[in-house]
Amino acid sequence: MSEYMLETRGLGISFGGLKAAQDVNLKIKKNELYGLIGPNGAGKTTVFNLLTGVYKPTTGTFYLDGEELTGKNSIEINKKGIARTFQNIRLFSNMSVIDNVLVGMGNQSSCNIFESIFRLPRYWKTERQLREKARELLRVFDLDDERRTLASNLPYGKQRKLEIARALATNPKLLLLDEPAAGMNPQETAELTDTIRFVRDHFDMTVLLIEHDMSLVSGLCDRLTVLNFGTTLAQGDVDEVLSNPEVVKAYLGDD
């Protein structure tokens, strides 16, 4: 057990000379709500892609709960306990809401293909367990009534929620949310803030989120890291960071 749920040491990646992210040092405590902000193109999503194995870091290492995960692929990382949502919603749009969540739960069922095809007892047992758990999760997100709807037919706000529910279904230790409030109206954003806080408390989750909406960030996060041009501009407590002149300059321009 490590003091930090996620720790990155000098994490960086460059694409043909372009340093999309460099020397990113995050220390996220257990059960913390941590924000990652920065202007457009600052490399926030790149950090997420590094942490979920979409890209392999060219420099640095990162640890989840003390265990090094550098260089592992997406599937292994997911198994170890990092789950994410996407900036542009990536639901399984032709599957029902509950099936979306059940896909996330796949790693918690030991039922093999043979048992599934021939409907052996273990299939029924695991399937029942999974469905119960999935519905419990959907109830938390107020999606249970729509569980048989196709994911693509959900309203936008609920699709965002379903993405979070699906990520949680993989039973992660750390949840990465990529702009969860993008495109939401103020009321939906407020609702989302409550949901994220609830998730943190109810599931004892550590959350790292990328967000542009400062009201969400300042209302929700415990601490922040600000990225600009792939490097860390500031990090620390929310008020402290947001009043940092460097940060203001990066956001509003130099004048």
């Binding site: 999503t45 892609n49 996407f86």
Partner: protein
């Protein structure tokens, strides 16, 4: 040596067809499966024209007719079958293209029957149909084919790189949305691409008939598939890639055919090469690597 010349000749034809595939793929991002059958239509156009007029200029007229018909057909299929599906999934477009291919084949068979029709396209200069150097003899049509293939390819490369329309094509293939924002009429460019590709197909059918002087409704399908293979080998979307792929495939085919032990397996060898190349270079020899954004 003969094998090499024949291979180059066949390779030139494949390259011409492959160019059609590759340009359409690069710009419309779709695999025009019916391209091979446009060649077949071109061949029938030549056959009909030749049987209607018998004057010495018949060959030239026939080629012109083929070019016009193929271009018109290319534009028609694009307008009727592919444009309504713009923005749909690649799988949907691919299946439609397969449908168009079948449609053309079956219509040709209904009109002309499945029997092969002889077409004489031998070119003679001063009454000779082949030149002999020592123990190597090269037919005039081979020379003409090779020369014209090279001219067409050079012309096409110049067109793409030097003219405004060519530039617009490159832009559309790079990023359709951005090109549209820059004021390029994407639909017009795609139409132009189909027109050029189909005109190339008409030339390909001419050269094909010089090599194999008969027409059947399925004439286009095998060369079509092989030329597509060539385009993929070269890296689909890349014009020099299509040329290299086409010539490579043509030479390999002729060499394989010339070795008795390998001859029956020619098709298998060509496709095996395709698979092997794709394994090591998943986007072909000269293809650009594209990554999906996360």
């Amino acid at each position: 040596m003969n094998t090499l010349i024949n291979g180059l000749c066949l390779g030139g034809i494949y390259a011409l067809i492959a160019l059609g595939y590759t340009m359409v793929y690069g710009i419309a991002k779709m695999l025009n499966f019916a391209h091979g059958d446009i060649i077949m239509v071109g061949a029938y156009a030549i056959f009909v024209t030749l049987s209607m007029i018998g004057s010495p200029i018949a060959t030239v007229v026939a080629i012109l007719v083929a070019v016009v018909i193929c271009t018109a057909l290319g534009l028609l299929t694009e307008r009727v079958a592919y444009r309504p599906l713009r923005g749909a999934s690649p799988l949907a477009v691919l299946i439609t293209a397969i449908g168009v291919s079948y449609l053309l084949q079956s219509i040709a068979q209904l009109i002309f029957g499945s029997q092969s029709k002889p077409v004489s396209m031998q070119i003679k200069i001063a009454g000779v149909d082949s030149l002999t150097f020592g123990n190597v003899s090269i037919s005039i049509s081979s020379i003409v084919t090779l020369a014209l293939c090279i001219i067409i390819m050079v012309g096409l490369t110049l067109f793409i790189n030097k003219t405004k329309a060519g530039c617009a094509m490159l832009a559309v293939s790079e990023d359709r949305a951005a090109a549209q924002l820059m004021g390029i009429n994407v639909n017009a460019i795609i139409t132009l691409t189909f027109a050029i590709g189909s005109a190339l197909a008409a030339f390909a059918s001419t050269f094909y008939l010089m090599q194999i002087p008969s027409v059947t409704p399925t004439l286009g399908s095998m060369p079509g598939i092989k030329a597509f293979t060539a385009a993929v080998i070269g890296g689909i979307g890349s014009i020099p890639g299509a040329m290299i792929g086409g010539i490579l495939l043509g030479v390999i085919e002729k060499f394989a055919l010339s070795i008795p032990f390998l001859a029956p397996y020619t098709t298998a060898i060509e496709f095996a090469i395709l698979i092997i190349i794709l394994l090591f270079r998943p986007t072909g020899l000269l293809g650009k690597k594209r990554r999906e954004k996360v």
